[in-house]
């Protein structure tokens, strides 16, 4: 049996397959479809200190081989999450990664502090790339100086591995990854959604109540793979790759491009068993290709 285990910034996962934040609820939602124990990690819906209402509907619209979402980061807040959702998640033999965000450095720090002290939370994933949020909000993930500040501040309070989730809506994601690395991130994950828009031509209104939304799904996979490869060539910390992964073949593109872990997002909606099927097919691929350890694939692109 080939080894599937990977080390993401000090956290050992049984396999590289995770769920992408916001596409897997708090884990419960898919627990009746798949065995969560099979996953490398469960990454939960983005959390903020206080609960958030999110955007009005319509929040989603399908596009060619993709979807736009403008959920607006609706979530139950850190406190209710710890109280109501963590007891369930602790029952599983998988890593729990809490995705979180804030609308100020203070809020980021506060949320990170509470979450990183919570029993059963194995790592944090910082969402600094929120194309769904209004105005000034976006800057965390698109301005190097702002990114440096917030990651440095969070790093100080975070006692567990810290993954910084990067926005693709930048000129150089490799540069942003270096900034995250330099500010103390243990790993980076990418890509978050690409900002997009769709218009109803009869009413001449945006199809999303929030006007713009984030594009995900197979449509963005080539962009995501390219960005993972660019980041792999720029930083030493591990990369969690995502963006349009539907099958093990897709996951393998990311691993070969340089991702040590991969996350499955939109695919969960299409096929609730996508994650587990990817774990199984990944293992089979390693057997077929006589690779003993999945880590041998990471960044193994031949040029």
């Amino acid at each position: 049996m080939p080894s599937l285990s990977v080390n993401i910034g000090g956290m050992i996962l049984k396999n590289p397959v995770m769920t992408a934040s916001g596409t897997f609820g708090y884990g419960e939602e898919y627990a009746e479809f798949i065995d969560l124990n099979r996953l490398g990690a469960v990454v939960v819906k983005g959390l903020s200190l206080k609960p958030k209402e999110g955007n009005p509907v319509p929040r989603i619209v399908e596009t060619a081989s993709g979807m736009l979402n403008a959920i607006g980061l609706q979530n139950i807040g850190v406190d209710r999450f710890i109280l109501e959702k963590m007891p369930f998640l602790r029952r599983f033999d998988t890593k729990v990664i809490c995705n979180f965000f804030g609308d100020s450095v203070d809020e980021y720090v506060h949320a990170a502090d509470v979450l990183s002290r919570t029993d059963g939370v194995h790592a944090l994933e910082m969402n600094v790339s929120c194309p769904n949020k209004q105005a000034g909000w976006c800057v965390f993930g698109t301005d190097p100086a702002v990114l440096h500040n917030v990651v440095t501040a969070v790093r100080k309070v975070c006692r567990i591995p810290l993954i910084v989730k990067l926005s693709p809506n930048v000129t150089s994601i490799a540069h942003m990854a270096k900034v995250a690395e330099g500010s103390g991130a243990d790993a980076v994950s990418l890509i978050n959604t690409i900002t997009g828009m769709a218009i109803d031509i009869r009413s001449r209104r945006p199809l999303l109540a929030n006007k713009i939304g984030g594009l995900s799904g197979p449509a963005i996979k080539p962009v995501a793979v390219r960005m993972v490869w660019e980041v792999f060539n720029a930083v030493k910390i591990p990369i969690v790759g995502m963006g349009g992964i539907m099958t093990a073949a897709d996951a393998l593109e990311f691993l070969i491009a340089g991702a040590r872990g991969i996350a499955v997002g939109t695919a969960n909606f299409v096929n609730p068993a996508a994650t587990v099927e990817i774990v199984e097919a990944l293992e089979q691929f390693l057997v077929d290709e006589q690779v003993n350890d999945v880590n041998e694939l990471v960044g193994s692109l031949r040029l």
Binding site: G22, G25, E29, E53, G54, V57, P58, V270, P272
Partner: protein
């Protein structure tokens, strides 16, 4: 109409529930689409659908014996009425109420509206399942030429003790809910929403629902907390 035979043993659905369906392996269309089940027996599930766009076109292109991918049964259920009840359907909304006609002990008085006669499928079968069916069309091509709310309003005026079950377009449901609220009738609506996951994970399909603690309403997912809601708790927004 589409009848599917699950490859693995499947849970039995109850009236009000739905499935997410997808035909074909292409990534365009990408997402599954929600459909109420029409009936479920002998291990097979039947759906009634109207072709709207890419997803339904792909379903319509299926040949006999081909496979379709589905998730379900999903969502909550209609509280099954213990006696007589009123049903209000808009077009294909009949699909959702259909299974209730068989499951309920009492019989239904159905108000069923469509733009044209062509939108009202299986009318004879439906007539056989209800006490009375009052049909309306916008263009008068079948039944009375009026909105479905017209005859319903008249009937409700003297039957406000009966529970009302509604499935149709959002404006229609909103109007029926308002009439019921005025008349003091209980009303259950099966809401429409764009859905991505169907299982409460994406938060794409939310609707504002009031509760005792919060009159403004909080977002609940139509797919998981619904699709059936007590109409008096629904905050009808901007529609």
């Amino acid at each position: 109409m589409l009848t599917v035979q699950p490859l693995q043993p499947a849970t039995f659905p109850v009236p009000g529930q739905f499935y997410m369906l997808q035909a074909g392996a292409s990534y365009d269309p990408l997402l599954k689409r929600p459909f109420s089940y029409l009936s479920a027996e002998n291990g097979s599930i039947t759906f009634l659908y109207r072709i709207r766009g890419k997803g339904t076109r792909a379903i319509a292109a299926l040949r006999e014996k081909e496979t379709i991918s589905l998730i379900g049964p999903l969502g909550n259920a209609y509280p099954v009425p213990s006696g007589e009840f009123i049903a209000v359907a808009g077009g294909i909304g009949i699909a959702s109420l259909f299974s209730l006609f068989g499951a309920a002990t009492g019989r239904a008085t159905l108000f069923w509206g469509g733009r044209t006669a062509g939108e009202l499928l299986m009318t004879e079968t439906v007539r056989g399942l209800v006490r009375t069916a009052v049909i309306t069309t916008d263009d008068g091509s079948a039944g009375r030429k009026s909105l479905v709310t017209e005859p319903f309003r008249e009937y409700l005026a003297v039957n406000a003790h009966l529970p009302v079950y509604v499935c149709g377009s959002t404006p229609m449901m909103k109007a029926v809910a308002a009439l019921c609220s005025d008349a003091g009738a209980r009303c259950f609506v099966s809401l429409e929403a764009y859905m991505a996951c169907g299982v409460g994970a994406c938060l794409g399909c939310v609707v504002k629902i009031r509760d005792s603690e919060n009159h403004e309403g909080r977002f609940r997912s139509v797919c998981k907390d619904g699709p059936v809601f007590d109409a008096s708790t629904v905050v009808w927004e901007g529609q």
